[in-house]
């Protein structure tokens, strides 16, 4: 693996974002709108319900973390789709760039894109709703790492689908996170789910991540077991994502579909 080749692909996307105000605006706009919207919704709950004293903090933090996951995954997919739309994939595939370097470049660029969108939104939430995700303390960074890993895993699986099935798989790219969201227990505890769905929900890292977030904000206790389970599951899923990506790439080379992927 060569760092220069990884940086070259990152540079290509940096140029793309740097040269397009609508792209920068789009990156920042959606997380900000999402956070403001959820901020007001949760403020309403606080004012009219005695059930959840710190509903604003819990729901808004969940919204910010979910958006981090959403942006990581969508950014990864977008970077790959940009190559398909610009009919540049063949140029990449006939260069010495390895699949592992493509994964590294897209993973790193997706993180930068995600942070570019989310950091302004986080700082807007602070004065507007008196909420800071940094209240989660050190575990926040472990939760963000877990969310990022799962976002990249979904990105890898969708990218594998794009390689295997072509641009028609694009719709799945947009919908991928919504498939998994109900099982992620983002805004509600796992206990809300029917008994028979619970094991399925707990087999994904999201339920553990958001359970832990609520535990820290509501009970002021950090349960590192949840964090470690989430990280462990993520290592498994990201390994699976990489394996599926490689399999799709190999299959596309055998079937000859790489040549027509942009058409």
């Amino acid at each position: 693996m060569k760092i220069k080749r990884i940086l070259s692909l990152m540079l290509r996307h940096f140029y793309l974002i740097k040269g397009s105000f609508p792209r920068i605006f789009d990156l920042i706009y959606w997380p900000t709108v999402q956070i403001i919207l959820w901020g007001f919704v949760s403020k309403f709950f606080t004012m009219y319900s005695s059930y959840f004293g710190n509903a604003v903090g819990v729901i808004l933090t969940a919204a910010i973390l979910y958006d981090f996951l959403f942006r990581s995954s969508i950014s990864y997919n977008m970077l790959f789709l940009e190559e398909i739309w610009s009919r540049n994939l063949i140029n990449l595939f006939v260069s010495p760039l390895r699949s592992s370097e493509v994964i590294c470049a897209l993973t790193s660029t997706a993180l930068l894109r995600t942070l570019l969108g989310l950091v302004p939104a986080v700082f807007i939430a602070m004065p507007l709703f008196n909420i800071s995700i940094f209240e989660l303390g050190f575990p926040l960074y472990l939760l963000l790492l877990s969310l990022y890993m799962f976002g990249i895993t979904l990105g890898l699986l969708v990218t594998a689908g794009l390689i295997r099935f072509g641009p028609s798989f694009e719709n799945v790219a947009w919908a991928s996170l919504f498939f998994i969201a109900p099982l992620g227990c983002i805004y509600y505890p796992v206990d809300i789910l029917p008994e028979w769905i619970k094991p399925l929900a707990l087999s994904f890292p999201l339920a553990h991540i958001f359970e832990e977030m609520r535990s820290i904000l509501v009970n002021n206790t950090v349960n590192y077991k949840n964090i470690l389970i989430a990280l462990g599951l993520n290592i498994f899923y990201i390994g699976l994502g990489i394996a599926v990506f490689y399999k799709a790439f190999k299959s596309a080379k055998n079937r000859g579909t790489l040549v027509n992927i942009g058409e």
């Binding site: 080749r5 692909l9 290509r12 140029y15 009919r87 595939f93 006939v94 260069s95 010495p96 000859g256």
Partner: protein
């Protein structure tokens, strides 16, 4: 003369369909081979296998006397490819695109190389324009510049002058000729422009239904098939296919 590319019994099957069937040829240093044949005869599949985009069913490809290992992408640093059907990112300027690819191919002195190509391909006025704003002729020149960024030993060109006006087409053909005179580069050219093939190629492979059915210089093929020019040879072969 040193052989830079050696293709032996190359075959590709997609299910029951044989796209390329026992193709054999050898490309020598500083020579140009033309791939000719009707649409669907296996030219693109052959090129794609040479570039590692398609895994052959059987056969071998040797580059500079080394077996092509699809897992080792290093062989791709000795090659490059240009086609009007493959584009560079349109939102990036010409300079940005060339910088990205210079970095991707790990060019030691990228700016010097880019400046050299800009001068040779007369791109000075286009360098800070977005690639998507250029005409198809200009984009072809940029694509050619990208394909030469790594000083490839083997250049694969797929219809490099398709849809270009005669003046721009002639500029590109003259450029390729001059470039090859001054650089150790071997070229595999797929084209439907018979004048281009006759002018640029030292040897022509005529493909039909996945196989090489004839080969030789343009003059040898014209004389062998008893026709007046290469286009008539091509038509004869294409129509023989239809009659079958």
């Amino acid at each position: 003369m040193k052989s830079i590319l050696e293709v032996t019994n190359l075959k590709k099957k997609f299910g029951n369909f044989t796209a390329v069937n026992d193709v054999n040829f050898s490309l020598n240093e500083k020579k140009t081979i033309g791939l000719l044949g009707p649409n669907g005869c296996g030219k693109t599949t052959t090129i794609a296998m040479l570039l590692g985009l398609i895994t052959p069913t059987s056969g071998s490809i040797k580059i500079d006397n080394e077996d092509l290992n699809p897992r080792d992408h290093q062989f791709l640093s000795k090659m490059n490819f240009a086609s009007p059907y493959v584009e560079l990112p349109k939102k990036l300027t010409v300079m940005q695109n060339l910088k990205v690819y210079a970095m991707m191919y790990e060019i030691r002195d990228p700016l010097r190389k880019i400046e050299e190509l800009i001068e040779k391909l007369k791109l000075q006025s286009l360098i800070f324009k977005k690639t998507g704003e250029l005409s198809s002729g200009q984009r072809n020149r940029i694509s050619l510049a990208k394909s030469l960024i790594n000083d490839p030993q083997i250049l694969l060109l797929d219809e490099p002058t398709a849809s270009l006006d005669p003046d721009t087409g002639d500029f590109i053909r003259t450029f390729i000729e001059d470039y090859q005179k001054n650089n150790p580069i071997s070229i595999l050219l797929a084209s439907h422009n018979m004048n281009e093939v006759k002018r640029l190629c030292d040897h022509i492979l005529m493909m039909k239904e996945g196989s090489i059915i004839d080969q030789g210089t343009a003059d040898q093929l014209i004389s062998k098939h008893g026709r007046n020019n290469l286009e008539e040879v091509f038509l004869k072969i294409a129509r023989e296919k239809n009659e079958n």
